[in-house]
Symmetry: D2
Subunit: 443 residues, 4 copies
């Protein structure tokens, strides 16, 4: 559990401006209220009676502050979207713009083009003016109207770029790499004497950012993945001894694969990065699959892209320029191993492999994600207008909170194999908790 | 805040049977854990620093218990679905059956036909045998394979019916009326010396049951409602001075209408039961609508069916046999008033009225609801197998809990006008917080 | 069968300009060909061996002409959309613009606002400039970016309006009323010495324009209607003795209702304007429905809005200002009659009534309609550029043709009760061919 | 053009049984009519005035015959589905069963399991009884409840299998290979003295069977492919210099790729088997793509799996056991070539590759295909009951006809590059008609 210090939110300075929002400060008058900095959400919520509390740390609740730091008409905000596409990016952009413009009256809003690339003058990408007209219909489309890119930001050039354009607030929509960049940018701007509120909106279709209960786009991705599993199931049942293998996103975390398995109920094996498995031998995946085929004659297997990396022979592994092990493509490898195994034991299967790749991430946000994006964006505006910085909007349980970026990116979020989601995935698939062969110590 | 006593869960007796589930009791071994009765979720979660806690009451967490009350092979469970259709009913039925059969090994599972009607021998409706084959594909279809009905249950006949068939566990899927019936049934069975675990799965598309953060089907309904709002928006923009009025479900609570307004972002006015409004006069709805039309020349209005009942002249109000005021159809009334108003002021509008009625509730569950239904059902089984009764599965924040039925049905859940959802709805529509005319005291 | 004269296409004059399209004039070179005026599609296609042909009339085939009438850079085209919304309007607009601009190089394209209203200077609606940017994404949205309206056009003012703006070509997208207006406009322009090519793109969601095999939007409407029937079916099966009645569009023709019944396969009775029925008595609808309920205990009924008008008591009928009989709302009337009947015979039903109204017409075009719209639009451009006028793009069998407006609007298209569609609808529903009671002469 | 003899339909013998269908024989009585064998559809329909007709051959029209060959109660029908999955298979099965059972009163209907495999007793696959209950809901699911497989049929064993089970009619749902097998089976049965009506329902998602205007499943596949192109477009616009390459089905014919390009309007290059192209050099694909990127900075490319096979270096080509050239995977090859090219010229692109594979074929039929499947199935029943054999149900223009299998499979249907579809695809993409480099003779 982090300390109270670790959850403290940085601010640019005292809030001396009265918020233009028409909200109340008392409960019971039927008008929504401003939220004070004293409204908190404890990190330790659940209780085991008889055991003492282990932490007193508390997140600030997100919400509109009665006093703000920036004078809206004199403020310029900028928005940048980084990394891979994710359903809901346009919804976040749109609600940021509408909240800034309609409710706070912020004078000028810029859209940085193509991620951090657009902050580097070397790339010659002038920001878009984000007027309400420019964002009117964008939430009905997938992707991001700003464009996105991967890669780091040159801090000095970016600070100069923002200062030259008078940007006071920067909203960074992106994953952990993006947020690390955002934090560095805030520090460099401070060092350069340019007060810049940097507020992150966490974006990861893999749902793998800590202190963020569910990231936007995750449920939309599940919905598309479920459609594909339905196809996989139809294919598996449509052929004699049909096996369909579907690869889904999830480099380090199995949330998408596990969630899809539970939502779909048509999956028989789900393989995630967090749960090692062996292929061969009694109790291995192939043996379990053989048993399944004997019982039901068809099977659907989901594999997260980061699962089973240790199953790929060393000779096929690749390292990148820095010597890091690159993820191997587990999908075709597994497909081949399954085909070979059943051929070897004399009962070949009709294996079909589906890799939906970008299809599950470039669609518009579904309703839940649309709601979530709207709320994230408006909370990000409230925080930024109050001069809070080096933070992102998190959700602790289902409460929107302010989380220091440094805390959120210190470690990735993984799906605990003792979590309710994984228990549900095991229940829905009926697969063994462990497919690590006979040597594995089973409970 | 309820007392500690009010949240206490009733049980049929001590748990002496070892659970057949292959779960662990220690954290850190990578295997999902049993949940103890000492795992709790406090009712008061959020904190205002400086203010003392107001309640120490805590909900039991839901989850599989290590020791259970019923001997699975000797147990008969029954499932009944009551009230209006709701996306996800078949998912709940299916996961109840699969968890009971595959994981606990319960001997026999019955599906009661057409709600509480099916518990009355007078109706001659013999229960269905709910085998795994019978439920194999049902989650892909809307509605309920058991059928449903409204109306009370004859307690004595129902107890006899259940006792005759050796039913030990009854899962009641329904709204507050159904849960009240379930509680009465549990009491009557106890009085009759037939120990019956009655566990509710709360079902209300209106999302209006207390201590249940979100009910299954709600998000699916939003998704369909959002589609219809998109049509309404297209119609409003497609005609000169186009106004589209859409009526949505929500007799007493505006969750569907407000959620749709936020998710869609194309709504200009949303009218809910919790927020009174006047039509005529400065600051009334018609005046606000006139201003909107002057600015933008088209408008979309959402009205929950229970909104604005006081706007309907007394002469048109009707009472039922018991003298209760019946809800009037606000939709056509409002449509006519809007048409008349704009005709009167000399700038007629093209008003179109859409009443999607059952269309938003008879569809299959979307992904998020499918996940929720699976978890609700499995938690309901865990609770029932542990002999817990007179309770339903709730969600406090996003944690599944056991909630005494008596507590859950004591009062309906309304959407607070000081809630984040309503604040978001006002932000998304841009409508005034109050449309009660000049006399209303505004903040 | 119309005469050869009746199918003759009017032109503004000889084609002296070489088409800028890069097409071929010979078959076999692998390049698509120009189409000559001598390419024809006979009106009488099918043959009954032994019987002589009854007509020699032939439609001109649509397609790009090698020689055209207008000099593209010097030409101004205008587009107007009239009447009710229909899936695909934006697709037609977009493909008209792209074909005119990219392929012919037409200098200027205007979008008339809100139907024929936009041709009357009194309404102060200046046309939009339809650039390729302006239409870039519009095909992904339902409705029409131009707006639409019903009602006639003031011919003199419209001709002046078009002449003042130098419009040489007018594309009129609309139903039979619109096409009649288009024909009158062409005549008046000619009389006024302003040569104007008027080319119609037939638009009727009801599919009721003659010589047009299927109109755009029809299949999309079926798709939405089928979704609603699925809901209706779920509702009917979800309640004891459930009957769902769905009202669909179709004032004079039953194509939507019959097509939906066949596509859905879940409909038990489909009522269309072309097939009279009685309600009461042996062999009437209520009697047939009673038999169905005895066999299967649930039923789905589709009624086209124009069906069964004679079943509504005279006292409830209304006439418009001109004394024409207004269509009565058959839906609620039928719902009440069904409820009353089953109550009377002592076995009440759970009747639910669904009126999807605008929902089926304001959605974006499905794939088949998108293809059709693109082809209709490009053929309309080819015809107009060749100076053809007073015509619309038809489809005879599945071949695009030029049809004189006068011929197309001379009579509405009805669904023949001897057609393959109606035979399929009877086969799919299993309903009797006649529900006119015992007095009806049955085959 | 085929001869009159080539279109003649074989029959098992004279029709002596009166059809049980309640149809009429006269036009104008409001009751749908039987269709006589003298109702014909000429093969040459369109006319070029001044040129003589080239053929007098005419197809029989499909439809219910007044006199039939089989005595329904004494008849056993069997249904087999072969080859790859295709949207609508279950619809065809269901309508075959319902028409046979409800309308003709055929005594027994068998469902052959897993394609022609199920006709070989060696595989031990007993047919399913296809009752109306068994097919009740199957049209809502993709795939085929019978299962399918590829591969030939052992004629003698299959004839014995069918004779042993008293099968008089066999409906073969499949592509050209399947239909060839069906023809051989009919011949062998006749030779063996077992009169067997063999009627084909053509199934090819590629739409490549001659005399069949559009095959079922094609439009549903377009719809799914269009969704994927929308994602591809979003991806291309979401990254700096984004290029998305999508591979679609179409081994020998480009109908799916071309149709998707027209329906989507977001495709910039579509590559089909019928149109050769070169990659390198001025006027080649890479050069054209470079120009596109310079103008618009993003691009979407569709490639049919059978396109550009000659672009793959010989060393990478593979032959199967019979020495036939196997299709190479053009997708990854093209992706690599594009990446390499832009890297080489110093302006690298962000290339994303999407291979939706089975996703577009395992979904349920959309509305148009559902309608088509119902009609195909009922026409197949009418033909079979009249003792017609060695034929399949075709569509000439949009009229259902009887086509001898021998004629239909004599040659594959290709998309003519002089067809309206390809002209529309070129218009929609704006790509050059030829990308074969400078040496190509252009019109």
């Amino acid at each position: 559990m982090p300390t109270a210090e670790a959850v403290r939110i940085h601010t640019l300075g005292p809030c001396t401006v009265r918020s233009p929002l028409k909200l109340s400060t008392v409960w019971g008058d039927g008008v929504a209220n401003f939220v004070g900095d004293d409204a908190r959400m404890p990190l330790e919520v659940e209780v085991n009676t008889g055991r003492p509390r282990s932490s007193e740390a508390m997140f600030e609740k997100a919400g509109p502050r009665e006093r703000i730091y920036f004078d809206p008409p004199a403020t310029t905000a900028a928005i940048v979207t980084c990394g891979g596409l994710c359903p809901g990016l346009n919804n976040v952009i749109r609600s940021l713009v509408l909240e800034l413009h309609h409710h706070y009256g912020v004078g000028r809003i810029l859209g940085i083009r193509y991620g951090y690339m657009g902050l580097d003058p070397a790339n010659g990408l002038e920001p878009m003016a984000l007027t309400t007209d420019a964002v009117d219909d964008i939430h009905t489309q997938g992707g991001t109207v700003l464009g996105s890119s991967r890669g780091p930001v040159d801090l000095d050039r970016a600070v100069a770029f923002l200062r030259d354009r008078g940007v006071n607030i920067l909203f960074c929509i992106g994953g952990d790499g993006t947020q690390r960049g955002a934090l560095a940018l805030a520090n460099r701007a401070a060092a350069a004497g340019h007060p810049l509120a940097v507020v992150g909106v966490p974006k990861t279709i893999d749902n793998d950012i800590r202190y963020v209960w569910r990231t936007f786009g995750y449920y939309t991705a599940l919905e598309k993945a479920r459609e594909i599993v339905t196809c996989a199931h139809v294919e598996a049942k449509g052929a004699p001894r049909g096996v369909t293998l579907v690869k889904l996103m999830g480099r380090d975390a199995g949330f998408i694969a596990a969630g899809t398995a539970v939502a779909s109920q048509d999956v028989n094996f789900v393989l995630v990065p967090e749960v090692p498995f062996v292929l061969e031998g009694p109790g291995g995946l192939l043996d379990c699959l053989r048993q399944r085929m004997e019982r039901r004659d068809h099977a659907v297997i989901l594999v997260a892209e980061g699962a089973g990396q240790d199953q790929i022979p060393a000779g096929q592994q690749q390292r990148d320029a820095s010597g890091n092990l690159l993820h191997q493509d587990i999908g075709p490898h597994l497909a081949q191993r399954i085909k070979d195994f059943f051929k070897r034991i004399g009962s070949p299967v009709n294996l079909r492999y589906i890799d939906p790749s970008y299809i599950i991430r470039s669609v518009p946000a579904d309703c839940e994600d649309a709601l979530l994006c709207d709320q994230l964006a408006r909370h990000a505006v409230h925080a930024a207008m109050a001069g809070k910085t080096e933070m992102l909007i998190g959700q602790w349980y289902n409460v929107f909170t302010h989380v220091p970026i440094a805390l959120a990116v210190a470690q990735k979020k993984y799906m605990s194999t003792e979590s309710e989601l994984w228990r549900a995935a095991l229940a829905a698939t009926g697969q063994p908790a462990h497919m690590t062969g006979p040597q594995a110590g089973q409970p």
